[in-house]
Symmetry: C2
Subunit: 336 residues, 2 copies
DNA sequence: CTGAAAGCGCTTACAG
DNA sequence: CTGAAAGCGCTTACAG
């Protein structure tokens, strides 16, 4: 490795280093690493061999300066502690890499406004993928200004350069409500998330609409934070204040908390005395100790749609904003 | 935004665009965005205003060509589906960003060898952080050749440019074994992970050593895959073949699976008939339906150590390889 | 098929 | 305090 005048970290091997050692021009080295460029096969082999020996790789940062693509994609994982969001990111990462894009993962706490702090928009991103139940207008504005395509997952954004993939929340929750009504439940409680989230409002509206269609209203509604603990607290409050025979929860984590409180603290038999449903079908929902009745919000389909929207938009940036709807499936297990 | 000759995506605004509009040189624009450079305050304000209007940000890729740092750090998240590893990545991401580094997250499946596929080493990474129970020699060799500092979490790597942070696995499992021996257990089973993992071998050895100190040996050992389902299967096999009064599991996910099988399928009362312990103290371990006795492998401490090792090494790349050991805490809940 | 040259967008001595 | 110039490491027309 080449030495460094400052005496610190040795500098990275460059194409010129390889060119000198192999007795060719830097252009030849560049061509040896290019799929499309013309170069004598024997010469290419020699260059690749010397490069391998010296530990040379073309510097993607320098190459990116010439190309129109950086292959860098920012992934904003709003609630990375949330089981379902974590599963999404876990599957999205390999899918992006397989598509030749490197995911720079960011948690929701990063402030897009503050120019003084590290700024992800310093990088010429190919695109940004955002997971979240609500739209961060600052992000959308920044992407618009910088002309960075945006893919939203979790809610629908209306803008020219933005694509969205979104679960049919209302329809899904409607199925849960229908199932419970049909089973004979009449006194419904609801545990939701922050009503600032579009996805939350859709889920609530979907459940309420189907209850109303059956001539029913929620007896009580509480909003929590999409966590097991939040669902536990909400269920404790709800079930001690009201006589209920069904609790519809806006996601699985809260439903599992509610289920645990109902059984262990309230001494209720689920599903004999009480029905509980969730949303997402996270891994834990199918654990035999829970066997939660829920709606599958399929991560694999979601990831496939996101990557598809991303690649087609990169291929044609002039495309109008598109929305991919994802159909949730009712998974009727043992808690309804 | 400037138009593009090719008619495709408009190109990004450059310092020259801003310079022209503001009537200054490109150097001045560059200085306006630099903390250290001298520039007239009024001129800086003007430039920043024009830049803001035009949506300009210095391109980190071009800037990185001149600097010694790219601020890009690769995070290899071996088992991103694993609850404990997922929690680690979830906390590591904001910690790195707060330290001014952007995490490019990679799943373990990415092949470091294959030059044809997308190659993370094309980017001049400041460092690489690897989470895993075993060492990928290919990665270590690649980092050595490219002089990229490496921080390992989950096992110890002996090399000049590599720092490791590692839980005291043997000591932790020893505490679990001691607790159960002291409680009067005599017929021990063990559910471990792949024995190719150093962490797995340490955990097993730690438990066995303390059993032997009490004159005991494991009655039966099985190795699974660190998942709830794997732990369930192993427990089914173990408990139907052997009469056991304690099962030590190498992680929490497997312990929760084993606990569920013991109670629901085998009709065993835990902790009356059988003790079960885990390792990690993942969030689910404290759910009231489990209340698992386990060893806390503290994610926050681990993340703090990783970032600390990273920053000190970047400050002085000549440092010898260091190891930060993390003390696990016995969390005695209700399953022992 | 090849090398010399221009240029990608930035930063940083260098003169002034 | 400022601008013109050199240079970071690469790619890509341009002549040959």
């Amino acid at each position: 490795m080449a030495s460094d005048a400052t005496g610190g970290r040795p500098r990275r091997i460059t194409a010129l280093d390889v060119a000198r050692r192999a007795g060719v021009s830097r252009s030849a080295v560049s061509r040896a690493f290019s799929r499309t460029a013309y170069i004598d096969p024997g010469k290419r082999a020699l260059i690749l061999k010397v490069a391998e020996e010296m530990g040379y790789r073309p510097n993607a940062l320098a190459a990116g300066l010439m190309r129109t693509r950086s292959n860098l994609v920012a992934v904003v994982a709003g609630e990375i502690g949330n089981f379902h969001d974590a599963a999404l990111v876990a599957q999205l990462v390999p899918a992006l890499i397989a598509a030749g894009k490197w995911p720079i993962v960011i948690d929701g706490s990063v402030d897009a406004e503050d120019l003084g702090t590290p700024d992800i928009f310093s990088y010429p991103l190919d695109a940004m993928i955002v997971r979240g139940g609500s739209v961060d207008e600052t992000l959308v504005a920044a992407c618009a200004k910088l002309n960075i395509p945006l893919v939203f997952s979790g809610c629908i954004v209306e803008a020219d350069f933005v694509d969205s993939v979104c679960c049919l929340n209302a329809g899904g929750m409607g199925m849960a409500a229908d199932l419970l009504v049909q089973r004979g439940r009449r006194r419904f409680g609801y545990i939701g998330g922050p009503s600032s989230w579009a996805s939350e409002r859709e889920r609530f509206a979907g459940a309420r609409a189907r209850l109303r269609a059956a001539g029913l209203e929620f007896v009580a509604c509480l909003s929590a934070d999409y966590t097991f603990e939040g669902g536990s607290r909400a269920a404790r409050d709800l079930l001690s204040a009201q006589q209920l025979d069904a609790v519809i929860c806006a996601n699985d984590a809260m439903a599992l908390g509610a289920l645990t409180v109902a059984r262990q603290e309230m001494g209720l038999a689920v599903p004999v005395d009480l029905s509980i449903t969730g949303f997402d079908d996270i891994g834990q929902a199918s654990w035999p100790c829970f066997n939660l009745t829920t709606l599958r919000n399929p991560v694999d389909t979601m990831v496939a749609r996101i990557v598809d929207l991303l690649l087609t938009r990169l291929a044609d940036p002039t495309l109008p904003g598109r929305v991919a709807y994802i159909e949730p499936d009712l998974i009727a297990r043992d808690t309804h």
